[in-house]
C-alpha cells in the first residue's frame, strides 16, 4: 500500500481524489496548501504527490522549490515523484515556472482530468521508483 499526498486548496477536489486513491488501496494524505504540506512532510513520507499550482499561503511552484532544497539534506524528501495539476488559466504559468526541471516531476494534468488517468500515472511512478 503506497502513500499519496494530495495538495489542493479546494476541499471537493481533495475529497474526490482521496476517494479514488483510497478505493484503489492507497493511504491518502491531504494538505490544503504548500505550507500545510511542508508541515505534514516533517513526519510523513509520501510515495507520490499530486500538487495544485494556484493555492493560498504557498503556491505549488514555491512548495516544490522549497521541497527540492529540503531534499538536498534529507534523502527521505529527495525526488518524491509528483504530478502538477492546474486549471487552464494557470497552465501557461505552470509550464513557465519550470516544474519540469525539479527532481521528481512526472507530468502536468489539466484540472478535471479523469481521476483514473492520474491514478494510473501515480502507480506507474511509484512502481518505477521501487515503491
Amino acid at each position: 500500500m503506497s502513500k499519496i499526498l494530495i495538495i489542493d486548496d479546494e476541499p471537493s477536489i481533495r475529497e474526490l481524489y482521496r476517494f479514488i486513491f483510497s478505493d484503489a488501496g492507497h493511504e491518502v494524505l491531504l494538505a490544503e496548501h504548500g505550507l500545510a504540506a511542508l508541515e505534514l512532510l516533517k513526519t510523513q513520507t509520501p510515495d507520490f504527490m499530486l500538487v495544485d499550482v494556484s493555492m493560498p499561503e504557498l503556491p505549488g511552484d514555491e512548495f516544490i522549490k522549497r521541497l527540492a532544497k529540503l531534499g538536498l539534506t534529507d534523502p527521505r524528501l529527495d525526488r518524491i515523484p509528483f504530478c502538477v495539476m492546474t486549471g487552464e488559466n494557470f497552465m501557461e504559468s505552470a509550464l513557465n515556472s519550470a516544474f519540469a526541471n525539479r527532481p521528481g516531476f512526472v507530468c502536468y494534468f489539466p484540472k478535471m482530468t479523469v481521476p483514473e488517468a492520474i491514478l494510473a500515472k501515480a502507480e506507474e511512478a511509484i512502481a518505477s521508483r521501487g515503491g
Binding site: 479546494e10 476541499p11 471537493s12 477536489i13 475529497e15 474526490l16 476517494f19 479514488i20 478505493d23 486549471g87 487552464e88 488559466n89 484540472k111 478535471m112 481521476p115
Partner: protein, 464 residues
Amino acid sequence: MNLDLRLYSILLAAGLLPACTLGACLAAGFGPAAAAAAAGLASLFAALCAGRLIERGLSAPVSKVSAAVKKFIADNYRLAAALPKEGWPAAAALVSSANRLMLELGAFRAFQINQVVEERGKAKALIETIPDGALLLDDRGGIIYSNRTALRLLGIPGLSEEVSIPASVTVTALAEEISRMLASEEPYLKACVELPRPEGISGPARTYLLIAAQFLLPTLKRPGRVLILRDVTQEMELEKTKESFFQMITHDMRAPLSSIMGYTQMLAKSVPKTPLSDQHIATIIRAAGRLNGMITDILNTTKMERGSMSLSPERLESAALASRMRDAHAPDAERRKVSLAPVTGDGAEFYGDKVLLERVLSNLIGNAIKFTPPGGSVELSCGRLDGNVLFMVSDTGPGVPKDKREVIFEKYAQMEEHSSMGFGLGLAMCKLAVELHKGRIWVEPGKGAGSCFKLTLPAGEKPA
C-alpha cells in the same frame, strides 16, 4: 455470489424451513396440530431472518444512497463525507458509484465556479481600469455589463432591472446618437458627439467618440452591442491646432515662394547663359515648384476636409492629362536614373478639375519616382474600368505591404521607412480629390515587388 442468486437462496431457505420443520415434527411423532404450529413458527422465523438479511444487505444501503443524494442536492452539491461501503457486493458497488458520482460532480461544480469567478474578476479589473466608458448591451438595450465610467458619462446613477439603453441615458446628445446607432444594421459604427459642460462648470465642450460594434454571445443567440465612449477632446483640440498651424505656415510661405519663383524666372531671362547658371536656375525653379506643390496640397486638403473646396470641372482627355504630367516629371526621373516610359493605353474624355487632378497625378508619379531605386521603372497607362476612366501608375519600387494599403491614404500616415520623406499628406489629398470627383483610388501589388496605384473617375457628362 451475484445478487439474484443470493436473493433466490434466501427465499428458498425461507420457504424450505417451515416445510422441513413440519416434516421433522411429524417424523418425531408430534401430532398434526403441534407440527403445524411448529411449522408456523418456523415460517415466521424464516421470514424475519430473510427480511433482516435482505434489509441489511440490500434495502438499507440503497435507502442510504437515496437519502445521501437528496442531502447532496439540498446542500448545494456538496458531499460532507463519502458513504461507508456496506451491504452485499452489488449494494456496496452502488454505494461506491454514488459516492464517486457525487464527489466528482461536487468537484467539477466547484472548479467551474472558480473559473467563472476568476474570469469575471479579470475582465472587471481590466474594464474598470480603462479610462473609456464600456458597455455590453443585449439586443433590446438591456445592460449586460457596464463599467462605472460609462454610467457616469451617460448620466445613469446606478444599475437596476429597469435601466436600459437609450431610454435611461440622461445626456440628450448621447441618447440621440446611441438611439441612431442601435437602430442601425451596420455591424460597426463610429460617431463624434460634442457635449456642452454642465451648468456651473466652466471650460470648453467635451467631445466623445462613440463606437458601437455588434457581437454575438453563444448563450444569447441574438446579436448584442459593445458600446465604447472615449473622451477625444484633447485629440480634437490638437488636430485643430495642427490644422491652424499648417494653414498659417502655408499661407505665410506662399508669398515669399511666389517671389522666389518669379524672380528666378526673370533671372533666367536676364543673366548670361552658361551651362552652370542654367543648371542652378533650373534647380531653384524645380525645388520651388516642389515646395509650391506641397503647399498647394496642404491647402487643398484643408479645404476639402472643411467642405469648402469647389471644383472647376472642364472637359479633359485622360491620355493627354497623363502625358502632360509624365513630361513634367521626366527630368526628375532622368536625374534619378528611373525609366519613365510614355503613357500607354486608350484615353477617354471626362469632366474634372484640371488643376486638382494635375496635383493628384503629380503626387502619384512623383511618389513612384521617389520610391523607385535607380535602374527601376515607372509606367503610366490609361483605360476604362466598369465604364469609368482609369489611370494607372505602377513602379518597380519596394511596394506597399498588404496591411498598409488602406492606411497610407490617411493623413500623416507614412510607411515608417519613409517618415523623413514628406508630411504624409500627398496620398490623403489624392484620395479626397478623387472622391470629390465621385471616383475611387487604391493600390495593388505591381510587377514584382512594386506597386500599382489606380484611380477611376466617372466618364460622361459634366456634373450638375
